[in-house]
């Protein structure tokens, strides 16, 4: 019996079992709590602790010109330099300031101030290139600086051609968001969608691949392919710069070229513009100087106003009285409604009394009795006031609306201005009379160009647009511009008739300054007064000089509007004189560039310029024969037997009876002459002046169709040293027809 378990032993076993049951219960309870009650929360906490999400940045789309290959805007990753001043050792601070200032091209004192800050983080310079980053890394290595300088990956938008197309392209902000121009208009399409990569990290923060890894790829932004052609844009920008310099234009200028059949904008230039790479700097140095001279408390507002002004796209955001350019619309309305025909006559007595009122409105000249065609060519205001009256407010406004002047054109650029106009009910006789010749209502240049395109293309109002199509990152087209027309405003017959009249206007009327031999240009000049500015500053007159036209007349392809805001009235302010030569130069370059065939009339063929044959390297005897065979005159300079150089060079244009100067020895090639002043002269006087100076001239503009024209501009400045025989291009305008 003594070998069996005793009662005491049983008690002990029971106590032990109770303890074990309690312990097990605690374990089970905790297990339930951890797994079931708090399970989800703890699981989430564990995942949060081990998983690290990383944003996969979407690349901003690229902007191309119409060729689809020329990059106008593109993004690339760059670096932002920041400091953690608190982690920089005291002994390193001077060297960090010195070296960073050197590498980042900053003032050492400025960097030292940042380095000495008692903060954990401060920016030094944003968006620096990889080359700079490498230099900073080298510097850190060289001086053994391991903490305190941070290089943070960032994105930068590049605009490789600087201010080329600046106001059209716009610019982006520090977070790569579009702030202006196309960058703003198409921001959501260009931005794309950021992706996300979620991975597990181990205790030291390294990736644990393939565990919980979830990847949502970033969708890069769409690329934009514009309708704008880099070449045409270049011609427009160059032409505007030249015009601004020639006429001391105070408030900038714009030029828009459009495909009349599709509404595709081929070029859109605005001056003064800015460099989208550096949009926050005032591009106009003169304006900056004026601001610097202001009291400090006024500078901020002045800077803001100057920046807003330079970012403004004048072709879209500025409104103006179109002036006589609008007469092509009034004329079309009258032709369409059979109120007038080409032969209808009207007598202009200089002053016109608006019927039913005692108000007299003057014409810029006295034209006497004239046909409708002559009225257009004379840009006769009374004739058009008369047409307005004949149309009446209701019919006039119907066409005004149909031409699209009461709504925004809907061009795909931001900031399009609303037009200001009188409705049919508001058009009392005086308002109707003034609107008939393009005054008293405000539209944007793009409105006027769209209306001109409608006059040219058979009466169809097209949708102006800048983006031709959008591509995804795989090159698939995801959007194409709608090139269908909005409505037909006038009939094809009216369009053809008006085109012929405008062609005549550019050949022998007030728009002769835009004439181009062989291209059958149609055009209309416009000069509008800025009444508001005149009231604000009565010390001088403020004008807008414009020229709007299209070509070729037999199959219109391109419409072009040139607009100069406030040319110096002391030089000239008429559309024909100020904007005409720029129109002629740009339109000629555009049509040449597009390969449009010239069709010369017999009269034009007689005046057409010829090109210099190649004689350099030939013996003098052979060269003389070649030149004479081409119908040109020869002048030989030097005593050599071989032609070392020729002026004009091979392929350069010169008049049919021009001279080629052959240089036969090295001494003769060093001879130069000075270009004389060729402005303000008649054709014969300009010719004589050129001959006296040992150069020759090539004429453009009104001189080709009129004998009373005077020279307006010359492409080589007075006083420039050139070789004898050099050809200077001189543009002529008709002094009596400059409205």
């Amino acid at each position: 019996m003594a070998k069996g378990t005793t009662v005491r032993m049983w008690r002990r076993v029971c106590i032990l079992l109770v303890f074990m049951a309690i312990a097990l219960g605690v374990v089970i309870f905790n297990l339930i709590r951890l797994q079931i009650i708090d399970g989800e929360e703890l699981k989430r906490a564990a995942i949060d602790q081990s998983l690290r999400p990383t944003e996969l940045t979407a690349q901003r789309g690229t902007i191309y010109d119409c060729s689809g290959t020329k990059i106008l805007a593109k993004s690339a990753s760059v670096w932002t330099v920041a400091l953690e001043p608190i982690h920089i050792e005291e002994k390193d601070k001077p060297v960090v300031a010195r070296e960073l200032a050197r590498i980042l091209d900053m003032e050492e004192a400025d960097v030292l101030e940042l380095v000495n800050k008692d903060t954990y983080f401060t920016y030094v310079k944003r968006k620096v290139e990889t080359e700079i980053k490498d230099e900073i890394l080298e510097f850190e290595k060289k001086y053994g600086i391991s903490r305190g300088i941070q290089l943070i990956e960032d994105y930068k938008r590049y605009y490789p051609y600087g201010n080329f197309m600046g106001p059209v392209l716009g610019f982006t902000g520090t977070d790569s968001q579009g702030l202006s121009g196309l960058e703003y208009q198409y921001d959501s399409e260009l931005s794309g969608t950021a992706g996300r990569l979620v991975t597990a990290k181990n205790a030291v923060g390294s990736d644990m691949p393939f565990q919980y890894e979830q990847r949502v790829e970033a969708e890069d932004g769409y690329d934009l392919v514009l309708t704008i052609d880099e070449g045409i844009q270049h011609f427009l920008e160059e032409g505007l710069e030249e015009g601004i310099a020639n006429f001391n234009v105070a408030n900038g200028a714009c030029a828009v070229a459009m495909d009349v059949n599709t509404g595709a904008i081929l070029g859109l230039a605005t001056k003064g513009d800015y460099d989208p790479n550096d949009p926050w700097t005032i591009a106009d140095k003169e304006v900056q100087k004026e601001i610097d001279a202001l009291p400090e408390d006024e500078q901020e507002a002045a800077i803001s106003a100057a920046l807003q002004k330079q970012w403004r796209n004048k072709a879209i955001s500025d409104t103006y009285y179109p002036g006589s350019v609008f007469k092509m619309c009034t004329g079309s309305m009258a032709l369409e409604e059979d109120i007038v025909s080409e032969e209808t006559t009207f007598t202009c007595n200089h002053s016109y009394q608006v019927s039913g009122t005692g108000v007299y409105i003057n014409c810029w000249s006295t034209h006497g009795t004239e046909t409708f065609v002559q009225g257009v060519c004379n840009s006769c205001n009374p004739f058009f006031m008369y047409l307005g009256e004949q149309l009446g407010p209701s019919l006039f406004f119907k066409y005004f609306e149909a031409f699209g002047f009461t709504q925004k054109t809907g061009v795909d650029l931001p900031g399009e201005a609303n037009t200001i106009y009188y409705t049919a009910d508001q058009l009392n006789p005086v308002e109707l009379a003034t609107e008939s010749f393009g005054q008293n209502f405000s539209i944007t240049p793009i409105h006027m160009l769209a209306a001109a395109a409608a006059v040219a293309n058979g009466g169809y109002l097209v949708q102006p647009h800048v983006v031709d199509h959008m591509l995804d990152s795989d090159g698939n087209i995801v959007m194409s511009a709608d090139t269908s027309y909005k409505r037909q405003v006038i009939s094809e017959e009216t369009s053809e008739r008006m085109t012929k009249i405008l062609n005549q206007n550019a050949t022998s009327g007030t728009a002769q300054s835009g004439y181009i031999a062989g291209y059958q240009v149609c055009g209309k000049t416009g000069t509008s007064q800025k009444i508001l500015e005149d009231n604000l500053d009565p010390t001088k007159k403020h004008y807008i000089a414009s020229y709007c036209g299209f070509a070729p007349a037999d199959d219109p392809q391109v419409a072009l509007l040139i607009y100069f805001d406030e040319p110096d009235p002391k030089i000239n302010y008429y559309g024909g004189t100020v904007a005409g030569p720029t129109f002629e130069k740009c339109m000629k370059q555009i049509l040449d560039y597009l390969g449009t065939e010239r069709k010369y009339t017999q009269e034009e063929l007689e005046k057409i310029d010829t090109t210099a044959p190649s004689v350099a390297g030939q013996t003098v005897e052979d060269a003389v024969k070649t030149v004479e065979d081409a119908g040109l005159t020869v002048k030989i300079r030097g005593d050599g037997d071989t032609v070392l150089e020729q002026v004009p060079a091979f392929g350069e244009e010169l008049p049919q009876d021009g001279t080629i100067v052959l240089y036969t020895d090295s001494e003769s090639t060093e001879t130069t002459v000075k270009v004389p002043n060729l402005k303000g002269l008649s054709l014969s006087a300009a010719n004589q002046t050129a001959i006296n100076a040992g150069i020759q001239i090539k004429v453009t503009g009104a001189a080709l169709t009129s004998s009373s024209s005077i020279s307006q501009t010359q492409d080589i400045e007075e006083g420039t040293e050139v070789k004898p025989g050099t050809v200077v291009t001189v543009s002529f305008v008709e002094p009596d027809q400059v409205a």
Partner: protein, 177 residues
Amino acid sequence: MALRNRTEAYDLSLFDTRPLTVEVGGLPKEKPSPKKQRRNNVIELPQKELDQNRRKHPFSLKAAAVMATMVLMLTIVGSIVLNQVQLNELTTQIAAAQTQLAEQESVHTQLQMEANANMTLSDVEEYAKEYLDMSKIGKSQVTYITLTQGDQGNVVQSSGGESLLDQILSFLQGLLS
């Protein structure tokens, strides 16, 4: 007392059932020791079996299987670990290469933009004129052909008609097309 030298509190063996046999002479017969009993239990194996047992045993199959399983397990575990290490290493390398690629692409874009900035149309035009003696395309480089009303194009057609077979073939081709 003999009990003082014992470790047990009680000598329970005293209560065991004893054999009733008593040796003559009054003294109990000496109890045979257990060792001797076990020795007596030894089983004598036959010589043949003894010889067999004496022979050297070959490595047993069971042990080999266990060993092989263990080696296999170790190999699998080892290769998993090794693969994981390699995978991590390669992933790190790929990530580094991708970063480098992205950086180089950015450098490419930066340089491309810099190059483009030096190739504006104005610069190209100036260089072409000044250094390459080039000129813009002009009418002298374009040859226009004038077609007068007298110019005509003749389309040559075969004079003979199609044979019956050709007509059937054409008809069938027309149906099939």
